[in-house]
């Protein structure tokens, strides 16, 4: 399932072609030409780059000092702290549970497995506000099991675990499927214990995929709004996440503050994805070299 694919290694490049084929003009090969390239650039700029540029520029409206003040305001700092800590917890839980679930889906077999497999993608297809309502019905004031977690940090964790469920699982599954069992069996026949095989063979192979999935989960979690807005309670310094803080600032016309915290969120997300990309290309290069 390719839906929330990693930003790691791209698909395998096309097989080598005879040199002569290249000589035929690329322009006539159903390619794209400068016009198409220009259209794509204009499109991306208008839709993605310009709006983000507007945010970045606005955040520095009061200079760098103003930017730092906005991020350093106690409520802003608290919101960012809550967001980052909760997202980190969520990423860690996903690392463990996501890998475990991927393992069970790949190596185990039981009736109904294909349904469970499809279920994994449900949080990805479900609107976030629906996730919030769904979790609220079970853990909120009308909970049938008497669990009242709304407006607490555990509620944030549960909501974020729900929406980030697919990332690590879908990241690890394909790698696990491709894992060459022969190496494991050879090691086992040489007397290696399960724990050793796990530590030295399986986990190192899975590590980049796990990391990539966790990074995507983390990035998704820090920006999440819809799924936490109802169940989180938005209590400043306790359960208010960065996106809620930003929304409040914009609604009371404090654009610079909202823009500044937005830029902070963007910077964190980009750094995480950038690191992932580097790891991903290094892994791809290693795979190429090993071939």
């Amino acid at each position: 399932m390719a839906a929330p694919t990693t930003t790691a290694a791209p698909h395998q490049p096309a097989p080598a072609r005879p040199a002569g084929a290249r000589k035929i003009g690329r322009r006539a090969a159903g390619g794209i030409g400068p016009l198409g390239l220009g259209v794509a650039t204009l499109w991306l700029s208008l839709i993605v780059l310009l709006p983000l540029a507007a945010v970045i520029v606005k955040s520095f409206d009061n200079g760098i000092g103003g930017f730092i003040d906005a991020i350093d305001a106690p409520a802003a700092r608290a919101a960012l702290l809550v967001t980052l800590s909760v997202s980190a917890v969520v990423a860690l839980v996903n690392v463990v549970m996501g890998t475990l679930i991927a393992w069970v889906l790949v190596r185990d077999d039981f009736p109904g497995k294909s349904i469970v497999n499809a279920l994994i993608d449900l949080p990805f297809a479900l609107p976030t506000i629906v996730a919030s309502i769904v979790l609220l019905s079970l853990y909120g004031p009308e909970s049938p099991i008497g669990v009242h977690l709304n407006a607490t940090r555990p509620a944030l964790v549960i909501a974020l675990l729900f929406v980030t469920l697919p990332f690590v699982v879908r990241s690890v599954q394909p790698v696990l499927i491709e894992l060459d069992k022969e190496v494991e069996e050879a090691a086992a026949s040489l007397g290696a214990s399960n724990g050793l095989i796990l530590r030295k063979i399986i986990l190192p192979t899975l590590a980049p995929a796990i990391l990539s999935g966790a990074g995507l989960a983390f990035t998704r979690a820090i920006g999440e709004y819809g799924s936490v807005v109802l169940i989180g309670g938005g209590i400043p310094r306790e359960t208010e996440v960065a996106s809620q803080y930003i929304q409040k600032q914009i609604e009371i016309d404090r654009f610079v503050n909202g823009a500044a915290v937005s830029v902070a969120l963007l910077a964190i997300a980009f750094s995480v994805l950038f690191v992932l990309r580097i790891i991903g290309s290094r892994t791809a290069r290693r795979e190429e070299a090993a071939r």
């Binding site: 004031p141 938005g234 209590i235 609604e251 009371i252």
Partner: protein, 350 residues
Amino acid sequence: MPAFDWFTNRRRIAAGAATALALGTVLAACGGASDDTSGSADSESSAGAVKLSLVGYAVPKPGFDKIIPAFQKTAAGKGITFTQSYGASGDQSRKVEAGLDTDIVNFSVEPDITRLVKAGIVADDWNADEHKGLPFGSVVTIVTRAGNPKGIKDWDDLLKPGVEVVTPNPFSSGSAKWNLLAPYAVKSDGGKDPAAGIAYIKKLVGEHVKSQPKSGREATETFLQGTGDALLTYENEALFIERDGEKVEHVTPPGTFKIENPVAVTKTTKHAGAANAFKDFLYSDEGQTLWAQAGFRPVNEAILAKFAKDFPAPQKLWTIADLGGWADVDAKLFDADNGSIAKVYDEATS
């Protein structure tokens, strides 16, 4: 495997896209405004009918749910449909200022209309009539859990240790401003001792208020979901949730504040006649009775007397006039940069 050739059939793709688009547009055109399952009167909007847009603060929907159908039955209201939008008073006012088109505005506090007067959207004589643009109002009340387990009866009880109070954020909500003005007026004896008033607010906001709901309605939701021991809100909102079966009760302190909610017709309306007719209906006997039935205190004294059971007269009812009028109060207490209450809020919560 059979060839999947709809991609190569241009006509079919174009037809498909056109159908989807047409379907979407047709459906959108015959959508109405009401979210009532009982099928209220404004479920069809035919071309040429007058459609009035109402932008309101967070809590008056129960009132308008009664008023609008009644208005549509009158001669002046025949064939008129409505779209309604409700939200935090300050946020709604800012949205209209930023370009949201509307015919009628009904906010919680006067400054949210003044903002539109300054922006040229509402005429500056909106409150020149005998009722000063205020067709209904309420009083500030305290809502507690059923049985009032913490024994909260007055403002001082809110400062008891361990009592958590829910009140919205005054930067976005009109309800919040009323909620804070009530104890301020009581403690400062009508503004004569501002320091005492601010001292109370500081203690209340600093130690007993944790959540920051955006609007009066969101505050109610937060309270109903289990947060807090006491909710400060409009009496009409308290009546609304009690009548809805929620396990709560309300107690109005002996000294409280008179809430007056303004209504105005915009200058930018394309249906001045219909909009003004609707506004006038709010003041009519029938309109005033409907407001009273919905839990809002009417301005018509005779009708208010008829509903005295729902609307007990508090011992001391402070008004905005006692404090010097909204222009003064808003500048001195709620101005985002200089207001004393605003500063207390900022320090305690940002």
